[in-house]
Amino acid sequence: MNLQARIQGRVNEFRRRPERLLGYFYIAPAVVVFFGVSLFPILVGIYISFHSGYGVFDLEYVGLSNYELLASNDTFWNSTRRGVLYALYSVFSQVVVGVGIALLINSSFKFSNVVRSIVLLPYLIPTVAIAMIFEWLFHNRIGLVNYLLQEGGMISEPINFFSVDLAFHSVVWIGNWKYTIFVVLIVLARLQSINPELYELAKINGANAVHRFFDVTFPNIKGVLFLVILLRSIWQFNKFDMIWLLTSGGPFNETLTMVIYAYQIAFQQFRGGVGASLTVIMFLMLLATGVVYFRQFKPHEEVET
């Protein structure tokens, strides 16, 4: 009996061995790609951040001086504040508006599929097209929005939406037009898995709409919201294309976030080393925030693996 079990064990082990090798074969390409085109370049970036010069083969080691250069630079600190503010402001408004829209289109109504498709659309539209549409709509001389506001008597002079006072808000809200959809889609998926009987029960017990939201809806979407906030914060903090297309960081550095500044340093001032240091600092900030966030809210427990 014992011998038989041992033989069986050996047989099983033998069977599993080539199986496991085959498993490695399946995931090998993805792992190679991941190391080759994600991790390796990151390491190169960190390496470059300690060097000056442009070009992989003519770098000169400069120690921490790229970082010191940034630390003594007011524009860098300004871009740090702008970048953090941009992320906080845009994520907060996206979550508030996104949950609202999800609640609205969760209730069934006629043509709901068409409405859902229209709402889904912006997320797949190239950012370039969105930036162009809104520059056109909000143009200070020939834009439709200014025209309608003037016709409606709300303003007497056309507004320059990309002026020093308004550019930051305009950039945030034009971005929100596209990225709020991410919040909507994920919250919507969660809302549809809530048992409708819970709402009926709350109604019978006399809960009004506000109470129903805080007693039934919110506890159910809370977990998924923590995850959405984490992902959107990372992406908004890293956002380059929308801001660059709309304002390129201007006017007067009003919309100069860290990413925009890193691009200017690396590709307009041609100082790759300093630009790389700035992205490394950004990554460390994200990492620190991520660690604290995971400790505090444990969003990964919401992800089924």
Binding site: R20, I27, V37, V44, L104, F109, L120, M132, A189, A262
Partner: protein, 278 residues
């Protein structure tokens, strides 16, 4: 009585909200398409005409034949298709491997893919530029496809891993009984079972390449290799802003995603709901 009135009022509020949604998300598209088919002189006319007086395709003709649009379109299509094919092959294999095989630390492998989302795109962009510069991959399709797949594959692999978990292994086991090999059962049984996932991945990969501006800006400076996104943006930067070309170019950029959303939206939503957020 009160109840009824409240119900009626909240319904009205709901429909007003929905009308507002459709206007906010739909009108900008209408305005772009409509402006694109006005004669150029009417486009920049003030006050603007909400319903166009004359309809013309002259702007599209100019875009096609007086600019490099067709070259950019070719480049964008090649890079998009390349990224879709590469990402699907790699992430289908990896998704299957992660689901069906007992690989040590596989949970950590999958988690590290998600970790890739934390990298600032420029943290990749700067090293790509320097490395590609020294191995002649700037201004090349290969370089762009590599950059795009780096941001596509982590997510599509995660997605395929989730999708293969919904395909019962018993389907494959019965194929093995009839003598199918492991590889054959994966291709002929498991993969068709995970087809909705593959479609979702294809849409995602296409959207990444078709919409990418950042890498297209950093990794290309040869006008013959420019992608659509960067190409159209050029018209905003000169002394004169060519709104006719910008609006028609942007309109055409919107068409493929528009078709995808209205024909395949159930796969897009399936991708979102299965990616683990539910």
């Amino acid at each position: 009585m009160d109840e009824q009135y409240l119900g009626w009022a909240s319904n009205l509020l709901k429909y007003l909200g929905i009308v507002l949604l459709v206007v906010v998300f739909g009108f900008p598209f209408y305005w772009m398409f409509i402006s694109g088919i006005k004669p150029s002189s009417e486009i920049i006319q003030y006050p603007p005409q909400i319903i166009p007086g004359t309809i013309t395709l002259a702007n599209y003709e100019r875009l096609f034949f007086d600019t490099n649009y067709l070259i950019w379109l070719r480049n964008s299509l090649i890079v998009s298709v390349g990224n879709v094919v590469l990402s699907i092959v790699i992430s289908t294999l990896a998704g299957y491997g992660l689901t069906r095989y007992d690989i040590p630390y596989k949970k950590y492998i999958a988690m590290s893919f998600i970790f890739a989302y934390m990298f600032p795109p420029l943290m990749l962009g700067i090293p790509y530029y320097l490395v590609f510069d020294s191995i002649n991959l700037l201004n090349s399709y290969t370089g762009l496809i590599i950059a795009h797949s780096a941001i596509t594959i982590p997510f599509t692999t995660w997605l395929m891993w989730q999708f293969f978990q919904t395909v019962p292994i018993s389907w494959e086991e019965s194929a093995w009984v009839f003598g199918a090999s492991r590889f054959k059962s994966m291709i002929e049984i498991a993969t068709p079972g995970a087809l909705p996932g593959i479609i979702a991945c294809a849409i995602y990969a296409f959207a990444i390449s078709w919409g990418d501006y950042t890498f297209a800006l950093i990794l290309v400076d040869d006008p013959n290799m420019t992608l659509l996104t960067v190409g159209i943006d050029v018209y905003t930067q000169g002394a004169q802003v060519y709104w006719d070309l910008i609006l028609t170019g942007a309109s055409l950029l919107v068409v493929p995603p528009l078709i995808l959303v209205f024909t395949l939206n159930k796969y897009i939503l399936a991708g979102f709901s299965i990616s683990g957020f539910e």
